[in-house]
């Protein structure tokens, strides 16, 4: 790990779980039993104060305001003792939606895209669908149907791929070889919703095949992990007694590429920063 600042670009739409993951990562860093741990005390924990409070009480964190974009800087050390700083953002997911729909990238985002060596893309598989199409019904059901005006709603896969294409264009990383930088990690968030034992790559290929193909074609060694930051759905109003009793540090896991689960939420970040497979 280098001693300079390591800023991660987190890409995720509204509702994928960026704030929950950030709060849980912070708590894991402070607990100190993972691949990465907090080296001393962070100067400012305020950006995640509200989220940590909610999780301590066993409740879901509130929606991050649209215009928020805050970078937290946490001093970290890895298992080998190398130290550095992790720059971790939190922002309102509508900003990503706005980039996708207006096809304009604000200059602040441009700076972040250019400067970050590693990207984490959070995808909540349960939110995306591959729509049913004509192949699932017999042709005879169509004859005689009148054509109506319908507005074209871009599919989830196409929207995700187009977003990545736009960010790669901004970064200037269009190449005939597979990309080595920026390194990409796809986190399939809210894994507990899926109730599956598949390995993450298979789950992605099954639910978002075109997107999985695109990621495999474009990046040299993209990492795909499953993530459940909370292990269960939390309500914003009712307390979860387990959480209150044991603390949110005891909850949350990632799913490794071979399908095993690990409670170390800092593992994907460590792999990204070091550049390991």
């Amino acid at each position: 790990m280098r001693a300079k600042s390591n800023s991660i670009l987190i890409i995720g739409e509204s509702g994928v779980g960026k704030t929950h993951y950030g709060a849980q990562v912070l708590k894991r860093l402070m607990k100190g039993d993972g691949q990465l741990r907090m080296d001393g005390a962070a100067i400012n924990l305020q950006p995640f104060e509200a989220a940590m409070e909610s999780l301590n009480e066993g409740m879901a964190a509130g929606h991050t305001a649209t215009t928020t974009y805050v970078d937290s800087i946490w001093p970290i050390a890895d298992a080998g003792g190398a130290k550095g700083e992790l720059v971790w953002p939190d922002y309102g997911g509508e900003q990503i939606k706005s980039i996708s729909s207006t096809r304009r990238i604000p200059s602040a985002w441009r700076v972040r895209v250019l400067s970050s060596p590693a990207w984490i893309l959070l995808v909540r598989l349960q939110q995306t669908l591959v729509s049913d199409d004509i192949f699932s019904r017999p042709l005879s059901a169509l004859r005689g149907a009148s054509s109506e005006n319908r507005e074209v709603r871009i599919s989830d896969q196409a929207r995700l791929i187009e977003l990545l294409q736009m960010l790669l264009y901004v970064r200037g990383a269009i190449s005939s070889e597979r990309l080595r930088t920026p390194r990409l990690c796809v986190l399939l968030s809210c894994w507990d919703e899926l109730s599956t034992n598949e390995c993450p790559t298979a789950a992605l290929e099954q639910r978002l095949p075109m997107f999985a193909n695109f990621v495999a074609s474009t990046w040299d060694r993209p990492m795909v992990f499953g993530l459940s930051a909370l292990e269960r759905p939390l309500s914003p109003h009712n307390r979860d007694t387990d959480y209150v009793a044991r603390g949110p540090e005891q909850f949350g896991y990632i799913v490794l590429p071979n399908g095993e689960r690990s409670p170390d939420l800092t593992l994907p970040i460590q792999r990204l920063l070091v550049g390991d497979v």
Binding site: R104, P106, S131, E148, R150, A158, E177
Partner: protein, 318 residues
């Protein structure tokens, strides 16, 4: 919105044609005519993109063709033959991961909006019935829409493809009169395409108008044979779930294979195949694989007529 004074530049919707990152520095932008009463938009610091995501126009092609000329696939056929449906079905197969294999993976597209518009009619959204794409009306003088797909081979070579989605009326007019004024788009496809797919509509060839359908297909086949100059071509029977009489099949084959004996032949249908398993229509993936495997012939330069063995004097006027 004030348009740039250069006819090829579509700022401020897309990036400046001359490459100025900040539009206000571009001399053509500064020289544009201000529309009366129009307000100059506040110069935002947002970055725009050089592609809009819709089907690519001729000027938009510069972005995807800059690195290497993509393989242009010209889908030709009379109206209602199923040309657009074929493209839509391919996009849906790619979207479901059925068109990709270990040897070739999908690697992106710069015209997702165009693909989704074409395929939107075939997709179920809650409450709406899928239908064949609306009839693409002929727009005189305007270019056909080009839909872009990129694939990466197992040996890590990226390849781009452009699929021309054009109304059938253009091809019918072009078949009758090669230099027709309103067949400009068909001439573009004929000139630029690297591979042709001639679509024969089984439904039309078995309907009451089968005679005129056969006639227009024969004209188009003859025109393509004259204009294609050794480029690969495939005869594609669409809606092949509908049977046609053997006499008709013989007549069409004679017209196509008679003038173009090296044409490949495929039958496609979007009706699901009889055996169970993934629903991928019939013949669509085979045709797509054949199309994606086409390569342009390498150019061979004429031999050098050297006047001397010394490299410095090899080409001289002596």
């Amino acid at each position: 919105m004030n348009a740039c004074s250069r006819s090829n530049c579509f700022a401020p919707e897309t990036t400046c044609d001359l490459g100025f990152f900040d539009r206000s520095n571009c001399p053509s932008w500064k020289g544009r005519v201000e529309s009366p009463g129009g307000q100059d938009e506040a110069l935002s610091d947002e970055l725009v993109l050089p592609w809009s995501g819709s089907a690519l126009g001729l000027v938009d092609l510069g972005f995807v063709a800059g690195c290497k000329k993509p393989l242009v696939v010209g889908v030709a056929g009379p109206q209602n033959a199923g040309k657009t449906t074929l493209l839509a079905a391919w996009y849906l197969l790619v979207g479901r991961g059925l068109a990709c294999s270990e040897k070739r993976k999908f690697a992106g597209s710069y015209s997702f909006g165009g693909w989704e518009a074409v395929a939107g009619s075939l997709r179920w959204t809650p409450g709406l019935l899928p239908n064949f794409p609306p009839h693409t009306t002929s727009r005189e003088g305007r270019a056909p829409g080009l839909l872009h797909l990129a694939f990466r081979d197992a040996d890590a070579q990226p390849r781009s493809y452009l699929f021309a989605d054009a109304p059938g009326e253009w091809f019918q007019k072009w078949a009758l009169n090669r230099d027709a004024v309103d067949a400009e788009g068909a001439r573009w496809v004929a000139g630029q395409a690297d591979v042709f797919l001639l679509v024969a509509d089984c439904e039309a060839l078995s309907s009451a108008n089968m005679g005129s359908a056969r006639g227009s297909l024969q004209l188009l086949a003859r025109r393509l044979a004259a204009e294609r100059a050794d480029r690969p071509i495939a005869l594609v029977w669409t809606k092949s779930d509908i049977p046609i009489s053997s006499a008709m099949a013989v007549a069409v084959r004679e017209a196509v294979l008679g003038t173009m004996p090296d044409a490949a032949e495929f039958s496609v249908s979007i009706v699901p195949s009889a055996e169970g398993g993934a629903d991928k229509g019939h013949g669509l993936i085979e045709l797509l694989n054949w199309t994606l495997n086409i390569r342009r012939k390498p150019v061979s330069l004429p031999p050098v007529n050297a006047t001397s063995a010394d490299p410095l004097f090899m080409f001289g006027a002596r």
